[in-house]
Structure formats: C-alpha cells, structure tokens
C-alpha cells in the first residue's frame, strides 16, 4: 500500500479515494488516495507518465475513475466537468485558453456578459473584472487587450477567470512554465493570496525554488502511484528526487564511458532570445551526443530553434565550423550543415501529404536531381539506404509519411538531415510519443551519427534518458546553462536536481542553493 493519507485532520475539501484508471496499455492510476484541505498549497511532482495529469483530470471531472471515487466537499462527484466546476474545482492548464484579441474584462465575462437595458453593460464588465484582479493583487488594466499583456499577466488573467467561479480547489498545471524567471513572482504572489483566503491550491511544478516559496506539502507520484506526501520544510530536494525516481532508476549506473571528441563544430555565444534565454554559451564537438536538460518551459526548444535559424535572436552568435552567424535562416544553416528535427512533429516536422521519401530528400533536392530534374532512381536509392540504416518500418517509402507511426515519422525526419549530410543535428524531444523500441533505436541512431564524426544535440525533458544517450549534458535553468555533466559522471538524480534548481545531488548548501532563483540580476525585487 501507499503511504497513509496526508496529515490533514482538517476536513478535506477534495479527495480521491482508492482511484484506479486504466488506459489502453497503461495503468495510469493505481489505487491512489489523495486529499487536500482548504487553504493548503500542495505541490504535485512526478516524472512524465507518473499519473499527475490523470489525477488532475479526475479531480476536475474530465474523466471518471474506473474504480474508487472522487469526493468534493464531503459528497461524491458523479457528473463531469460542469458539476466539478459548480462544486468548486477550477483548473488552469499549461496552455492558455484566452482570446487574445479582446480585452481582459471581456475574457473574464465570456458567456456570462452582464446585460443592461442596452445590451451588454461594458462598464459593469470592467468593474467586476477590476474587482477580481484587485483581489488577486494584480496590476492589470481590465480594458487592455489580452494579446498586449506579458505572458505572466496573461497567466494571471487565466487564474482570475478560474477565481471568478469562487473555487474551493484551484488546480494549476505548470503555471509558470511559460514564464521568464522574473515574472514567476507575480504568479506566486497570486497563489499566496488565494491560499490566505482559504482556497486549496494544487500546484504542479518542478521548480524547487517556487515550490519552497509557496507550498506546505508536496505529493510525489511515480508510475501511477502516489508515493508519498512530504512536508516541504522537512524534505530536502534530494529526498524528493529520490521519491520521484525510485530505487531502480536512481541506482542505475552511468552507462557511457568518457570519450574523446573532435573539433568544435558548433559554438553558441551569449545567445539571448527573449524572454526565455538570457545569454547561453556552449560548444559542441564532432563525435559527441550533447544533451540539453531543463524543465518544461526553460527555453530548450527556443534554443534549438534559434540555432537552426527558425527564430531570430536578440543578441549573441551561432558559429558553425568558424562561420559566425548573427541572423541565420534555416536555409543558411542548412548550407552550413545544421539541421533540426522539431519537437512538434506534426506542426513543423513532416509534410503530411508527401511521401516518406520526399520528406527525407526535401532537405537537399540537388543531391537527387542531376541537371535539375529529380531522378526517381536516385531518390529510391538514397532513401532506401537511409530507411534501412534507421530501420524505418515501411514496405514502400513512397507512401505518404502520415501513414507511419510516430516513431517512424521521427526517424524519417532525422533521416532528412542524414540525407543532407549535415554535421550538426539538433533533435528536439525526438523520443516524445514514440514506443519503447523506437526510443532505443533513436538512441542508437544518435550514437551512430555521432560516431561518424557529427555532432548531435539532444534535447529531452526526460532526465532518465540523458545518461543513456549522452556524452555530455548541459542543464538549462533560468535562461542559462547552469551545470555541465560529462560521461561517465552523468546520473539521473544529478541532472534532475540541477534542472529543478537544487544544486548538487547532496542537496547541501553548495555553491548555488537558492531561495529565489540564481538569475538575480533580472529579478526586480530587492530582497
């Protein structure tokens, strides 16, 4: 059995009792007991797939447990989202659901506009919005258009919308993941106020500094189970990480031996991409798989996109083999031998209607079109070889790429840059949403590619896969590279601790243990 229910002797405002939830192939929740009391701020932690989202979906009525029950304010929840909402559960998800082109006030009264004798009473709308925002201590003009606000302000508006429903339990799913470090305090302040009013807050986040500032207790989940609820004051970060990872993973030995690597292929210097990256500097060498770790929203994707020329950066440079670029484009970077496979495979990775083969050769048509005319034979030969090398499972490579499974699509997008013979491959979450076997294959491919004298930059949000694949891991936090680990000294707890902001694994007051974030110079408050 799991640990006994939390010490809340106060009557819980919301409870989950013996809940079990099975999805096809996954037991998402396994006999989970959970309770949260009024005014409590509870952090919810766990790796991807630990069951956090499922727990949230049960509490907010999006889904019902296969067995067990959800109890709100003493009575079982029988209906769906609407009933949960009416009975006081409000949820803010990572993605903002605001309408960007209308005002804050209008967003706050969508669907329930105050009406007077002459249609919608806009003044009343503004008044009530102002009241809600003041209650949250937010200095936001209700008549401002949402799109003109900062992300933190938008996040507050999102919270305000939930708060208008007078929730008893407010669930915040990684509310600060999209924010720059300096903006986080605004959200934290709002959470504190709500808690003081007696609202229970369930706060999903892995930023330890935030959690320590606002939460009383933290619940850690792993593999669909609720492992333990600990008091924040009494638990150091290494203990929480231990709970998140479990014995097996934590004890997993570092697998990579140290390697000698070649010349510097990629040098990133003082790269600034507003608002996420604040001076990132590193270099990557031929023959290495370079991992980039960091929590959700730390700017990993932004970093790769900037290097690949997809987004402009404000300052800094990207150099490839000594060629210094200030404003690269994807075309330019391709010429220099840099290719990126995006995290968002459907959105920016594949071209759905085209064949697998064309999706591969589109990075360099010239190679397969002597005299400017595409040679079917060459395309077939080139893609067949790559298909075999990367074990792309398809009987016919001319089939539309969207007929492939996610893992095979990913391999095809990687093959694209092998076709272009790029020296630097930037892989953003290449293993997301692919099955276990494909994951292992992708690690192998990265290794192979690196061994052929190229540089692979591997971004992952799953700390446990970095030691498996990388020769070196950089940890991104608060807009900068904070720590570097080299094989054979790359371990999951270390990487995770560095990502969460806990200094070294010992948890001892090492160089940078942090009450607020390290990134002091951007934080305005003088404390």
């Amino acid at each position: 059995m799991t640990t006994p229910p939390p010490p809340a002797t106060r009557t819980a405002i919301a409870e989950v009792r013996g809940a079990r939830k099975q999805y096809p192939g996954v037991l998402a929740l396994d006999d989970v007991d959970f309770a949260i009391a009024p005014g409590e701020v509870r952090a919810l932690l766990g790796q991807n797939g630990a069951g956090k989202s499922t727990l949230i979906r049960l509490l907010s009525g999006v889904e019902r447990p296969d067995s067990g029950s959800v109890v709100i304010d003493g009575a079982p929840l029988t209906g769906g989202v609407t009933e949960a909402g009416r009975r006081g559960v409000a949820t803010c998800y990572q993605e903002l659901s605001l309408i960007r082109d209308v005002t804050v006030a209008e967003n706050l009264s969508l669907g329930k506009w105050p009406t007077g004798a002459f249609g919608i009473d806009r003044r009343q709308m503004t008044r009530s919005a102002r009241a809600t925002l003041e209650r949250l201590g937010a200095d936001i003009d209700p008549d401002a258009v949402v799109g003109s606000l900062t992300l933190a302000q938008q996040q507050i508006v999102e919270i305000a919308r939930a708060v208008q429903e007078e929730p008893k339990l407010l669930i915040l799913d990684e509310p600060t993941s999209a924010l720059a470090t300096a903006e986080v305090d605004i959200v934290l302040g709002t959470v504190k106020r709500l808690s003081a009013e007696g609202v229970a807050v369930l706060y999903v986040s892995h930023r330890m500094d935030e959690i320590r500032q606002i939460a009383d207790t933290a619940t850690v989940m792993r593999n669909g189970r609720l492992i333990e609820t600990v008091s924040i004051a009494g638990a150091d970060t290494s203990r929480i990480i231990h709970l998140m990872l479990g014995e097996a993973l934590e004890a997993a030995p570092a697998v990579r031996a140290a390697r000698t690597t070649g010349e510097v292929l990629l040098r990133v210097e003082d790269l600034v991409v507003t608002p996420k990256l604040d001076g990132v500097t590193f270099e990557g060498r031929a023959g290495e798989v370079l991992g980039i770790a960091g929590l959700l929203g730390t700017g990993r994707t932004e970093l790769l996109r900037a290097i690949a020329g997809h987004d402009r950066f404000r300052s800094g440079t990207v150099s490839v083999r000594g060629s210094v670029e200030h404003r690269p484009t994807p075309q330019r970077m391709r010429q220099l031998g840099v290719g990126m496979t995006p995290e968002d495979r459907k959105g920016t990775g594949i071209v759905p209607g085209l064949g697998i083969d064309e999706n591969i050769v589109m990075s360099d048509w010239k190679r397969v079109s002597p005299g400017g005319v595409l040679a079917t034979g060459r395309i077939r030969a080139a893609t067949k070889a790559l298909g075999q090398r990367l074990a792309i499972k398809a009987d016919d490579l001319s089939r539309p790429i969207n007929t492939l499974s996610g893992g095979n699509q990913q391999k095809a997008v990687i093959a694209r840059w092998l076709h272009a013979d790029s020296d630097v491959l930037l892989l953003d979450e290449p293993t997301r949403g692919v099955d276990v076997q494909a994951k292992a294959q992708i690690y192998d491919i990265m290794r192979q590619v690196a061994d052929s004298g190229k540089l692979v930059v591997f971004v992952s949000s799953e700390a446990e896969e970095l030691p498996l694949a990388c020769d070196r891991v950089l940890v991104l936090r608060g807009g900068r590279i904070r720590e570097e680990f080299r094989a054979p000294a790359i371990t999951v707890p270390d990487v995770l601790a560095a990502s969460m902001g806990a200094g070294a694994e010992s948890g001892a007051a090492a160089e940078q243990t942090i009450p607020t974030d390290v990134d002091v110079h951007r934080v305005k408050d003088p404390s």
Binding site: P330, P342, V351, L354, E358, W365, L374, P400, N402, T403
Partner: protein, 349 residues
C-alpha cells in the same frame, strides 16, 4: 489515408454491366486507394458521358467548327489553370487572372498598332510586363505577408481599371494581316494553336510539378510551410516564383486572345478567374494546399468547357446557364470531398 483492406488481386476491367458496388470497388482497388486517381477516373467518366450526351442531343455540338471552338475556349481557361494548380497546391490563390488577361491583350495590341513595335517584340514585352505584376503580387505575399487573396484582389481591380483607363474601354485593333498573330490564331494539323499552347503548358507544368525540386517544394510548402522552411526550403522564393508564373501565363493567354479577337480588349475574359479556379478544384486539387495534380486540372478544364459549351448549344437561358454551372461545380467538388473523406483522408479542420 489508411490502406484499403481488401487486397485480392483483380484486373482493372470495369464491365459496364456488372453490379455497381462491385465495379466501383474494383476500380478503387485497381488504382490502389489513391484519391487523385479516384478523382481522375470519376472525371473521365463524367466527361465521356457528357460528351456522348451532347453529341446526340445538342445540335451543332459534334461539328468541326464547334470542336475547334471548344478547344480554343478550353485553352483560354487551361493555360492559366496550369499555373493556378501550382498556386493552389502551395496553399495560395490568385483571383486576378481575368483582368490580367484583358490588360495583357491591351498591352500586346497597343504595342503592335500604336507603339509600332514588331509583333514578336510586342509579345515579349507583354510577357515581361505580365511576369512583373505577377512578381509584385508574389512579393506582397511572400515578403510582406499580405494574404494572396487580398494581394491579387487588389491586382484584379488595378489591372482591369488600367486596361479600361488606357483604352477608354474601347477595343484596340491590330492590323488584319499579321503573320505571327495569324499563326497564333490558326491551326496546326487541324488543331488550334492555342490548344497546342495549352497542351504544351500542361506537359511542362506536369513535369515541373512531379520532376523538379521547385515543383516538389511547392507541394511541401502547401502541405506544411513551417516544416518546409525548417527543412531549408526557400519558402519565399517559391511563393514569388508562383505568382510570377501566373502573371506570365495570364500574359500568354492575353496574347492568344488578341490573336483570336483581332484586337486588345479591356473588358474581355470577364470572370475568367472563376472558371480557372473551378477547373482546378473540380480536378481534385485541395484548396487547403499540399494536394493536387495537373492531369486532374486538365480534365477539370475539359469538364468546365464542355458544360459551358453544352449549355449554350442546348439553348439554356443565358442567365440560367450560370446557375446550372454553379450548381454543377459545387456538386463536383462536394462529391470529390465526400469521396476523399470516406477514404479516411485527413480532415484537419
């Protein structure tokens, strides 16, 4: 696009007497679950039926004069439809075709009869000017992110207005005996020259679409522009080139029209853009981009032309003709969309 479940080998013969679902399934199987091919086969059948019907029911349909006229009508739509196919595959649209053709015919005629240029030079000049304003629309789209519908809608108004302004809406006659113009309006082995130009255009663009990096880039940009960009494809250049091509083809049609009418005419080709777009869409090219074929468009052109011609010969009231044509076009596309949806093609929105 899931693979068809039944894979029993069957020959492609579709016996006219066999039961309908059987024949249909067999055709589908023979063409391997390819939506484009379903569309092409359907259009072919429709064209054959329409042709047969008109041959027996429309007086004067199956005459040499009418067949030749049919081909000339088809050419007016078809030449522009080749480029339009690529434009629509790329996820764009060009609504300026009619006015572009009209102004081109005015430019060509004026260059010959008023500015005294030799005919060949007048033609080259017309083509260059057409390409220029096409490029302008392309630059507005690619560089300044003006939606292509708006950019070409503006161009539509400007070009028509210019044509009428410079000619006072009066035809600009060209000299009666101009060997080049006569050739452009003549026949080669009984086939009208414009039809030959159209066929050449279809062959060229069919080749470009399937066999060149540019053509495949068009599909990539239309299928997923951000992905194409990230793969290092010059998305802007592709877009500018496409609209330049449209301008060029509009000018070609303008020159051919001048040769046919013996004058440059600012009010000609009224509403041509809609026939062109309709032909492309009836031919199975998706307005959402990324999917389409030149063969489909070719059949679409024939289909649209046949309907137009048939309605006239059948003596349908000329106002009612538009109604019938509109209904047929929408039905054809509806059928097309329904077929592809039933086949499990992705429907993103």
């Amino acid at each position: 696009m899931t693979t068809t479940v039944e894979t029993t080998p069957g020959t492609a013969t579709s016996g006219p007497g066999s039961s309908r679902p059987g024949a249909f399934t067999r055709i589908r199987r023979a063409i391997g679950g390819n939506t484009t091919l379903v569309n092409i086969v359907g259009l072919l059948v429709a064209i054959v039926l329409l042709y047969a019907y008109l041959t027996f029911n429309a007086v004067g349909f199956f005459t040499a004069a009418n067949q030749s006229g049919l081909l000339r009508d088809a050419a007016l739509i078809g030449v522009a439809a080749t480029g339009m196919t690529l434009v629509i595959i790329a996820g764009e649209i060009d609504v300026s075709t009619g006015p572009a053709v009209a102004l081109s015919s005015v430019v060509a005629a004026s260059a010959i009869s008023q500015w005294g240029l030799p005919t060949w030079l007048a033609i080259v000049l017309t083509l260059a000017i057409g390409t220029a304003w096409g490029s302008l629309a392309g630059i507005l789209r690619a560089r300044f992110a003006v939606p292509s519908f708006i950019a070409t809608l503006g161009l539509w108004s400007v070009l028509r207005g210019l044509a009428q302004f410079v000619t006072n809406a009066l035809p600009v006659q060209i000299p009666d005996s101009d060997p080049i113009m006569d050739a452009l309006n003549g026949d080669v082995l009984g086939v009208p020259t414009p039809a030959i130009v159209m066929i050449v255009a279809f062959l060229v663009f069919g080749f470009i679409a399937r066999k060149t990096p540019f053509g495949r880039s068009v599909f990539a940009v239309g299928g997923n522009a951000p992905a194409a960009r990230l793969a290092g494809i010059g998305v802007r250049r592709v877009r500018v080139t496409l609209f330049a091509i449209m301008g060029f083809l509009g000018a070609v049609s303008g020159v051919l029209l001048t040769a046919r009418l013996g004058s440059g005419n600012s009010t000609a080709a009224n509403g041509l853009e809609f026939d062109v777009i309709a032909a492309v869409v009836v031919g199975g090219t998706a307005m959402t981009g990324g999917r389409g074929s030149l063969i489909g468009t070719f059949l679409g052109v024939i289909f649209i032309t046949l309907i137009g011609n048939g309605l006239v010969l059948l003596g349908v009231n000329s106002f009612l003709q538009n109604v019938v044509r509109g209904v047929i076009i929408v039905l054809a596309v509806l059928l097309n969309v329904t077929l592809s949806r039933r086949r499990g093609a992705r429907e993103d929105d």
